[in-house]
């Protein structure tokens, strides 16, 4: 309404201004003693964020704005004390207070003060009017005033509270409209294949030296689908002697789509996850999912609200929940994921003040989702001397979202063990948001308890105690017990970043007590990153209790400097306090002049053994491979080395190979999504049917939402490193297609990625059409008027047999006419349709038509069919 008032005022003012034009030119007006002034409501327009009516005071050529009017709209706190004549408040944040003193004629905003002239500020009816030009120097608000339109405009980058309000509202609307999870219209399940795809990571290295025999070694890792599962083979060897069988590792895994008992069947080489991590070849059956767990559990975070304006929860800076309950107590549901969850629980005051706290909730991988039980069975032979047998039965139960308890029974077939069976009981508990406790009780091996604390400020501390049994397999140093602890305290004075760290270990050995300690301080100051760390080592022999020997004491100062052009220089010089001399001096220079070229130089002078080591290395990264060449000088020897590494993947559906320079791609899947124009409407991509080149595809998976896909010309869109066996949801929004008349067969699809191979998803897109028409009321021989709100139905023509079979037409759309009587339907698939009006509705409108249905045909055309002029003429019902 205020806009209308402004307009009427504009007209009124225009009429007032015109009055002198109509008055006689000779009329003499008395000259006023003081300049006339007028209170004029004007429109205050905040660019992109709305507008409001604000009263201005206009005197001569000067324009003043009501500070209260402007600041109330911008949500900047303002209070006027009439007795002192002082307007005060704070600007955006409570620590930036401001004062406008209308008697002393001074203004202060934060630390800045300014003297005011008599013409700068005016007081009328306890409202402070400030000259429009002064909002900029005082508050950084450059307000532009247009006297012809009576409009003041403000375009600013200042983070005004009004922006925060609208941002919060926008986020709330977005949250309300955000689907919990996109519902796929089609799901592409994994299918059985004897052999499919393949990914090869490779690395070849050649060394030539004046001191040792030249060598040409290789390392490869091959993954792909085999007999319905995924297989992996690692080969290491030398070009002259061939593959080293002892280093060869083979692995095959079957992951059933529907898994009643076990989710993974593994045969071959893998690594145990019991008391010891050892390489084993054998069999593993487990119900642990093949894809990494990302989502842990929903958890309700509760607390007492400070304000009554609602409590907002942001997870990873994204609004995820709002509680507007009037009780003052909030309950917000958070979807916790594995790893560290940063959750901001915020409230906003009337003037943009922010209250709240950040919660850091750590979910370690050892916690099992509440209510779930993980179990696995392992049988095989360890890759160790004598290939001893190993067996493992374990079960982990997520008792609650805070506690996971597990039992395990392990068998180790080593000959010299006093016992071969090692049971253990383990517990992981979230004792608090920031505190994780773990206990592992294995009566035959060791007992261990750990506590880990990390606060939202990243101050962290850890403590661990281990009580050993005398089994050499788990206690090679023959220790009795060991205590370790560490503390890291980061702090940031004046924009610089520092971190203080302290760690210590005490190990009680049979003959002595061993203690180690390290104190360090590191900093990030602009381009400099200095660090100094001192390490101590003491041994306290039991045969001489009075003697405490400091056996190690070394201080290492180091400095890393980041210079322009991606030049990094590192210097380090460890000082041995016991010997009273520097141990060595190291210099490293790394430069990356362009993104795909890396040059490294290292120099190390060891003063203890009087030797010098120098190395120069060049790395070139092409889109297909990575080439490295280097020369090293150690003493009198020179060593030249060259290596080539990368990754190659095959996509059988396309007969294509993909190359990558990073040799760590094997194991990941590749997902290719190819929307194509289905010209013959058969749902299959035939020769000549092009891939759509202009679209925006988005994908999401649990924990990773809405990332854009990379486009490969003529091939489609790709998720290059898809997590194996992970479900991905891909969205092809129709509005993002180049032609709005194109209709994707599926707008949302879901597919499961397979490791070492590609998952190819083709989405047919048909060119539909648009239909436009008008419903007109014939009021006379030449007078006709559009009829609004008339219901128009577009329905596909189907035969009676098909209607019986399908139940209802495949396409039916209902729209209403606009104020002009026009209606429009877009994205109509090709076919025969009937457009009809609702006779009952027309009767209620006292209208009738000679023809209430019209047949239309949408034809399949490359750019879509446009049907216009589907008009209906209505007359008054008699």
């Amino acid at each position: 309404m205020h806009r209308h008032r402004v307009r009427y005022h504009l007209i009124f003012r225009a009429m007032i201004l015109m009055c002198p034009l109509f008055s006689t030119a000779s009329s003499q007006q008395p000259v006023p003693s003081s300049p006339p002034e007028e209170l004029v409501p004007i429109e205050f327009d905040l660019k992109r964020d709305g507008r409001a009516e604000v009263v201005s005071l206009q005197r001569e050529n000067k324009v003043y704005l009501s500070v209260r009017g402007v600041f109330d709209f911008l949500r900047i706190k303002n209070d006027y004390a009439p007795t002192e004549g002082i307007l005060s408040g704070f600007f955006i944040t409570p620590d930036t207070s401001y004062v406008i003193d209308t008697r002393a004629m001074k203004a202060r905003v934060g630390n800045r003060s300014m003297s005011l002239l008599p013409d700068d500020v005016t007081l009328r009816a306890d409202i402070v009017y400030l000259r429009i030009e002064l909002f900029d120097p005082l508050f950084g608000l450059a307000i532009q005033y247009n006297p012809r339109t009576l409009k003041a405009s403000l375009a600013t980058q200042v983070a005004l509270p009004v922006f925060l309000n609208s941002k919060i509202k926008r986020l709330e609307d977005e949250l309300a409209g955000r689907p919990l999870r996109l519902k796929p219209e089609a799901t592409f399940e994994r299918t059985f294949s004897w052999i499919n795809g393949g990914q090869l990571d490779y690395s070849f290295r050649q060394t030539l030296s004046s001191a040792v025999i030249p060598s040409r070694s290789f390392s490869t890792r091959i993954t792909g689908m085999l007999i319905g599962g995924d297989a992996e083979a690692r080969f290491i060897g030398n070009l002259s002697s061939g593959v080293d069988i002892t280093q060869t590792r083979l692995h095959w895994r079957y992951v059933p789509v529907k898994a009643p008992l076990f989710k993974q069947y593994v045969v071959g080489d893998f690594v145990t996850s019991g008391l010891l991590s050892r390489e084993i070849y054998g069999v593993q059956l487990t119900n642990h999912p093949a894809n990494p767990r990302i989502f842990f559990a929903d958890e309700t975070l509760s607390g007492q609200a400070v304000t009554s304006r609602g409590v907002y929860m942001f997870e990873s800076s994204r609004l995820s929940a709002v509680d507007h309950s009037a009780s003052g107590r909030y309950n917000l549901n958070s979807a916790l994921t594995y790893g560290v969850n940063y959750i901001d629980i915020l409230e906003f005051g009337d003037w943009g003040e922010t209250f709240g706290s950040t919660r850091r909730i750590a979910i370690p991988a050892s916690l099992v989702p509440p209510g779930e039980i993980d179990y696995d069975v392992v049988v095989g032979r360890l890759r160790d001397v004598g290939d001893p047998w190993h067996g493992e039965l374990s079960s982990q139960w997520g008792v609650t979202s805070r506690v996971t308890a597990g039992v395990r029974m392990e068998y180790y077939g080593y000959d010299n063990l006093p016992t071969k069976v090692f049971p253990d009981f383990n517990v992981t508990a979230r004792l608090a948001d920031h505190l994780i406790g773990e206990a592992l009780l294995s009566p035959n091996a060791f007992l261990r308890g750990t506590l880990d604390l990390t606060l939202p400020s990243l101050v962290s501390a850890g403590f661990s105690y281990t009580d050993y049994r005398s089994v050499r397999l788990f206690n090679p140093r023959n220790a009795i017990n060991e205590i370790t602890g560490h503390v890291v305290v980061p702090f940031s004075p004046d924009g610089m970043r520092f971190a203080f760290d302290l760690s210590g270990t005490q190990t009680i050995l049979s003959p002595a007590r061993e203690r180690k300690a390290r104190i360090g301080l590191s900093a990030f100051i602009g381009v400099f990153s200095p660090r100094i760390a001192t390490q101590y080592g003491w041994i306290h022999p039991y045969d001489n209790l009075d003697e405490t020997n400091l056996v190690f004491h070394e201080t290492e100062p180091s400095l890393r400097v980041r210079l322009p052009a991606n030049l990094f220089v590192t210097l380090a010089a460890p000082f041995n306090h016991i010997e009273g001399s520097f141990r060595n001096f190291r210099v490293g220079v790394l430069i990356q002049p362009v993104s795909n070229l890396l040059l490294e130089f290292e120099y190390d002078r060891n003063f203890a053994i009087q030797s010098t080591f120098a190395r120069f290395r060049l790395q070139w990264i092409s889109p297909f491979t990575r080439v490295t060449a280097g020369v090293t000088r150690g003493g009198d020897n020179l060593l030249f080395d060259q290596s080539v590494s990368g990754s190659v993947g095959a996509v059988p559906e396309l007969g294509e190979f993909f190359f990558e320079s990073n040799p760590s791609r094997a194991g990941y899947g590749t997902m290719l999504i190819a929307p194509f124009i289905d010209a013959n409407l058969n749902g299959i991509r035939d020769a000549g049917e092009p891939i759509i080149s202009s679209a925006r595809l988005r994908a999401s998976t649990i924990g990773v939402g809405g990332f854009r896909l990379t486009q490969l010309p003529e091939i489609g869109w790709v998720i290059p490193r898809a997590i194996p066996y992970q479900n991905y949801v891909v969205e092809l929004p129709q509005i993002d297609l180049e032609n709005p008349l194109w209709i994707p067969r599926y707008r949302v699809v879901e597919a499961n990625s397979a490791p070492g191979t590609s998952t190819y998803i083709s989405i047919p897109v048909i060119a539909g059409g648009s239909l436009r028409g008008t419903v007109l009321h014939l009021k006379g021989p030449t007078l006709q008027e559009g009829v609004e709100f008339v219901k128009v139905t577009l329905r596909e023509d189907v035969s009676d047999e098909e209607l019986v079979r399908v139940g209802r037409p495949r396409y039916e759309k209902k729209v209403e006419t606009f104020s002009t009587g026009d209606f429009e339907v877009i994205g109509v698939p090709p076919g025969k349709y009937t457009v009809s009006l609702d006779g009952l509705q027309l009767a209620s409108l006292r209208l009738q038509g000679r023809q209430l249905t019209r047949p239309v045909t949408i034809e399949a055309k490359t750019d879509g069919d446009i049907v216009e002029g589907v008009n209906f003429i209505l007359i008054e019902r008699k």
Partner: protein
Amino acid sequence: MEKCEGNSTLKKASTNQFLNFVRHTMFGQRRHVVIAAFVLFGIAYSDAGISVYPTEIFVVSPNRSAPLTISNPTDSIIEVWVSFGHGYPVAFDSGKVSMSRSDTAGIGDLTASKWLRVYPQRFTLGAQGAQVIRVFGTPPPGLASGEYWARVVVSSKPKNARLAVTRNNQTKLMMELVSQTTVPYHFRTGVVSSSVVVKQARASMDDGYLRLRVDLRRAGNAAFWGRINYKLLSSSGKVIRMKDYRVVAYKEMSYSVLDTLPSVYEGPYSVELIIDNVHPSVAAQYRISSEPFRQRIPVTVP
């Protein structure tokens, strides 16, 4: 037929239409008089309460379409419809900028309005709602190189919000506020080039103001989108003031700058003028490379 909009439209629509309006309202036989009034044109944020993003559209062949988001920041329901016209800003000798608009292109203009379509063409926007529309071009085959212009005209009016005033049971005045917002559309095909030729640049300083007037003409076959950067330099070369202004030149254009100056002493100064192709709201991929124009103009504070 071309018409100039802005305030001049209101002036042209003045006497006769106003008298007709009064005649119909006070004495007419018709019961309803519907007036489409307050037609604003040429800005991307209109009084009827819609905002449009982006505020300019560039499409480079072979792409054929571009999205346009229309938002309703008000709390009322509005009806929106989209059409196409042809137009571009022009400047009068006084330096006042106005919009030259016509339904058809002028002589020598390359227009895209004939082969543009929009989907959806008409729709309803709820309170605080938004709609993405697609402006889709079907350029005829064999189109000559160059930049083809159009203006996407987004019109809106409140839905079900007609104001009715009853007078003596005979006449009912119904007022309908229709607003229009236009977005310039540019379709580029083949080789395009754009630069500006400065016909005249003048600067003066007095009464605490710097007055700068730049008359320029666009060269090449595409509109020039860029900025004027000026620096006020002291006789020793010290920068006293520096500002940027956005520049859009479809054909000929004049820019007048009136800038408040800080306290300066009497004496000689100079204004360094740079016109380049960096327009803040044009994405880098749509900038047409051209050599920046530079000129230094001596000025004296009397």
